[in-house]
């Protein structure tokens, strides 16, 4: 890619990755260290927080990988289309 690969701060994939990263981290920690027998009984023995947290982390990493692999193209200025508002 060219030098001006702007993986701009406003790439929605990175925002998704940020959200999933935070959620995944919090849930994984909860699932690893703060899980109670009562929680597990509630959810039929499945450690929901742990598995969901790990899943979110994986998905977040995938999002970052995608954003690095195909950076957001610079926003094309409309070629006449649209910017001129047709008179009613």
């Amino acid at each position: 890619m060219s030098t001006e690969t702007r993986t701009s701060a406003f790439d929605i994939r990175l925002i998704i990755a940020l959200l999933l990263g935070i959620y995944g981290l919090v849930l994984t920690v909860l699932g690893l260290f703060f899980v109670t027998d009562e929680d597990n009984a509630k959810s039929a023995g499945v450690n929901v927080n742990l598995w969901t947290g790990l899943g979110m982390l994986v998905f977040g990493v995938l999002m970052i990988a995608w954003a690095l692999w195909r950076p957001a193209a610079p926003k094309p200025r409309p070629t006449g289309r649209g910017s001129s508002s047709p008179a009613p």
Binding site: K42, V48, N49, P78
Partner: protein
Amino acid sequence: MQVLAADLRLDANAIDYVLLAIYFVLVLGIGYMARRHVSTSMDFFLSGRSLPAWVTGLAFISANLGAIEVMGMSANGAEYGMPTAHYFWIGAVPAMLFLGVVMMPFYYGSKVRSVPEFMRRRFGKPAHLVNGISFAVAQVLIAGANLFLLASVVNLLLGWPIWVSVIVAAAIVLSYTALGGLSAAIYNEVLQFVVIVGALLPLTIVGLYKVGGWQGLVDKVSGGPGGPEQLTSWPGNQLTGFSDNFLSVLGLVFGLGFVFSFGYWTTNFVEVQRAMAARSMSAAQRTPIIGAFPKMFVPFIVIIPGMIAGVAVSELRGENKAALMAGDAAPSGATFNNALLLLMRDLLPNGMLGVAIAGLLASFMAGMAANLSSFNTVFTYDIWQTYLRKDRPDGYYLRVGRIVTAIATVFAIGTAFIASTYANLMDYLQQLFSFFNAPLFATFILGMFWRRMTPAAGWIGLVSGTASAIFVFVLTQSGVWTLPGQGGAFVGAGAAFVVDIVVSVAVTMVTRPKPAEELVGLVYSLTPKESRQREVTGEDAGWYRNPSVLAGIVLVITIALNIIF
């Protein structure tokens, strides 16, 4: 947090609130960042037609995966079971493919800025006014319904009074849609989609564990009040309300599948607007088709949790479900609309509970933002600019758009209280759609492919179609004609479609058509092939970016799903 009085209260703790707060910070942040890309009214109302297809595609289904879909469809899942999947497989996917392959070249190629604008150029002012005003009114009503559902969830969760959460939620949605316009709404829809799937997928899996896997669910539903027919999507008698199998299938295919869903997906500007924001013709065509991929699988994380709730949640199973299905109040006081919340309460530990609540609130707010961002576009371009204040500088319309967004929010708050009077929100919204959308599809499809159709036929057809939908509604409401389930809405939509076609053809025969040169780009036979062509280079190259190939893949998977279930 121990509150004994309300048994629906979710046991949320500090962690859950932190996760919820993080989400709202990001939502408002997106609004703030999107604002820097807004310099013209086109940026505000149509994202400057610059977004990639996967973003608009996810936004396309996410705008519809609002409160209505998530709560309403899991409620339907609890009540009717698998036949609810028809809303997705029969009632959405074919119409989305049709929009992408057949209709989008006219919408995007003619460079109109809204669906009503297409109407004005094809049929002139009377049809435009009917369409523009009815759309604007419907959006405010639906925004209010979204708001009310959101408030009732917050009421269950935090115990806040309904009116407080209505106003707080409205303020959040207003700030990001007024700041960042359609881009903010679309980016938040994508984010919402991720969170809602992140919440519902684990809920479904854990729910299945709880009831003993798929086989356990099958056994429990079969033994319950709905019986085994709730496990196969066809013929869906309970859903349509027709006891005759043939009529039921006919109602589903023609009523839901053809008239109702094509009207909704192909002419509803809330949806079409997302595709119009795409960066090229090819991306616009792919928008609904890319959206169809996740759409096919949404039933599994929405309907199945509803079915699980119907057999696993103590307030909903057994005699409660039987009473609710018969139209009575359940002894426990719960309703099917609570199905998803009750299941979350029963299954999810703190942490996941926060994610699930964030996902639900996100879906309500995204739904409302979608209504607002399409409303302000139609109001500003189609009503204000077309009839009231022409030829002002572009910045003026940008300002009008922001102000109108605020005014619509106030009206939506008022409407939130109308929505509270109906027991089943799906019924309420379907009635709205059948009034406005069913005749629209008839008029559009005739208008796109029949060059002779006249402007007068355009508006008279629309008005008489809408009137007949209302007529059927009055008949069913007053008890003259009894159709339980969703059958009334399907019949209403069907009547609107047929009446619209008949009246349009009849009126066309006695009135003057528009001159051919005014219809270039709007009618199939008068549009040069080049201007319907999509780009096949650069970002639009490759067979996997070919709308027709993608549509074929979706169709095959949908048929397979219908055969399996």
